[in-house]
Symmetry: C2
Subunit: 409 residues, 2 copies
């Protein structure tokens, strides 16, 4: 009522997003139901905002219940008006979570096993939901959700391409921002508004407690080799122990590599790529590091496609690093060495698949992952390339087509 | 070893933070122990990164155990080197969480009740900790943590002042960025790098699942009146249902208020203030709204000090709005009206105290809160002022001394 006839016009004026089609939402729920059936879950309870968005098209405050058999029940508390505008699903308005119990009871659902997002749902919120929804038995729904979200639809790939489209203007502007003596923070500050102007959603999401990230991380030397809690090959120093990652006040030096890791964000979908810059001639051994990263990228692009095992993707990359005797610097050094060379991307930056030596999974068409061969020289710096790939029947397809060569400025 | 002799020099070169003194950390833990004793908790288990930082001075990956009697046990997994550099506490290096069990057993702790951060700890992480640490009985440690963090030390107030110091250059630059026809996103993009250049930590934190925020929110008209899931008086439209808050592509119109809500961030500490701008003469009823917000601010600054009840602070503000017949627009409208006019700030933006009509709590010296009288005209726009206050024995003291008048551009 608040927006009267102007609703749609307003939404168009303020935003830049593509609404998720209803058939797509239903298909996603069907996918989830298939996995729920295998896990013995009778109804899924979706509470986290990202999962809610994935299945409903809105992130307003509410609870989505997906019964194995029957229609989804989307209970919405606030804003009901906005939820109705954004989601094509039927909405059951509620004032309090407690009202959900009666509906679930009337559908006979409470006799079954509830599936909840145990990987993100805090204990107190879980206890409250159990009380308010009235279920007795529960299981973890998170593996089902993560698996159904792993394979992207054509609609999602369009969103990812738009997200990736923000990178070209940012990396292009970086050619001017990276200068001898400029600090990492200076470079980030010069670039960070550009993506936003191109419709960047504002922040990025990583699933799980203590999982945080900045939109951009610039490393200009030894900061690229500093180890921190984050499970990433190049984390950065940051400027405070309160957020010990990302750009710092370290300044660019001639011949020392500068890595810029940037995440696009469009309509919820995150892309994640890295480029390496240098003022003047890249010093050794970084030159060798970069060539090896290039070789790994080219090998993956020639070999990887649907049907390839994730562990094979990792093993090939590792062998190339080993052949160049660079395995000690590959994906970090010492305490900072990480086990993966790739990670799924989508609404969160740590989706499936993960590309490691031990996570066995066969790639299938529509999986999308960031692939990031990086090399770290302790106390000195790091280089790397990170590209986002879509798995196709016969190849890897890039999300964007931007150059990933070393940029000499 | 990685940093050899250069460690301290490097940390100085890259960062801009003040390390937390050891005595301060011990005092914080003593405060927590006092509250644990009252709650019947025998040992606190700190896992969330913000709480870890508060009690240890670092956010590296680990678990802090605080026994009611005896020394803290700080188990650190990664990065041990960085943790040692940042925290003055003794560090017990571990390879796996499981190693903690034996130590706790040897101290006899496992016979007691463990306190955990149940408001943020996901069910799966809780179950893993229970297995790896070996406790049988547990209770919620979150209320104790939130209470001890509520009163800020002189060291913390210094951090908050540095955080607040980032606002002046941002709001000053906004005088130029706010122009007729500029979009909210344009304005944000022009301003967002400025705080970062002044040492902004990069992002802000809000405690709890689904609690997210942007660094800045610009609203230029009816977007300031759009209701969303977020429990804030002026949330903004955002540009996607995936993140339905913050700045949008709505453009500035003559006479219509533009609110800019910005969060500073220094060494973990968050400040949160709002200013109202207008191109030309502010249209009615926004003029009246703004005057009423000013009156509420002035009344609070004259009346509020240590010993005042939070509910009184709210009631006085409400009465002023009521006297001006503006209670229907006060702190939002309809579905969007929120129950608070103030919230504690610190390492997270939703700390204690909360200033509402029903949360009874007497203000004491050292509490710090954002106070935000705001008025919303549905379908049209919003105005407001938000200032950060430190509670003193005899007055409220501002965190910054910047002007909060209406800015006409």
């Amino acid at each position: 009522m608040q927006w009267k006839g102007k609703k749609e016009q307003m939404m168009e004026e303020v935003g830049a997003f593509d609404p998720v089609p209803k058939e797509e939402l239903l298909k996603r729920m069907d996918g989830l139901k298939g996995l729920m059936a295998k896990s013995g879950i009778d109804f899924g309870v979706i509470f986290q905002n990202v999962d809610e968005f994935y299945f409903t098209g809105t992130t307003q405050k509410g609870v989505l219940v997906i019964p194995l058999h029957g229609e989804p029940l989307f209970f919405l508390e606030k804003s009901i008006e906005r939820g109705r505008l954004e989601s094509p699903l039927d909405i059951i308005p509620i004032k309090k979570e407690k009202e959900i119990k009666e509906v679930l009871q009337s559908k006979g659902l409470l006799r079954g096993i509830a599936g909840l997002e145990l990987d993100v749902l805090p204990v107190a919120a879980f206890e409250r939901l159990r009380r308010n929804l009235g279920f007795d038995r529960h299981a973890d729904l998170a593996p089902c959700i993560r698996e159904v979200r792993m394979v992207k639809s054509p609609f999602e790939i369009t969103q990812l391409r738009k997200s990736g489209g923000m990178m070209a203007p940012v990396f292009e502007a970086a050619r001017h921002a990276v200068r001898e003596g400029a600090s990492e923070i200076d470079i980030e500050a010069a670039l960070i508004g550009i993506g936003r102007r191109h419709g960047h959603q504002g922040f990025l999401r990583m699933r799980g407690i203590n999982q945080e990230m900045t939109l951009m991380a610039v490393q200009a030397g030894y900061t690229g080799a500093m180890v921190t809690y984050a499970d990433v090959p190049i984390a950065g120093a940051g400027i405070t122990p309160a957020i010990p990652q990302g750009s710092s006040f370290k300044c660019v030096e001639r011949g020392i590599p500068v890595t810029i890791d940037y995440g696009g964000g469009y309509n919820g979908y995150i892309t994640d790529e890295t480029r390496t810059f240098v003022v003047g001639k890249l010093a050794e051994p970084f030159q060798r590091f970069f060539q090896c990263a290039l070789e790994i990228i080219e090998d993956a692009m020639a070999y990887v496609k649907e049907g390839v095992e994730c562990t094979d993707v990792f093993a090939r990359a590792y062998r190339i690093a080993e052949k160049a005797s660079l395995q000690d610097y590959f994906m970090g050094h010492g305490e900072g060495q990480v086990s993966f060379i790739g990670h799924g991307i989508g609404l969160e930056i740590n989706e499936l698949p993960v590309i490691t030596a031990r996570h066995r999974r066969v790639l299938t068409e529509g999986m999308v992952f960031a692939f990031e061969p990086k090399f770290v020289l302790p106390g000195q710096g790091a280089v790397g390339i990170e590209l986002d790939f879509i798995v196709r029947k016969d190849k890897l397809e890039r999300v964007t087509n931007d150059s990933f060569e070393l940029v000499t400025v």
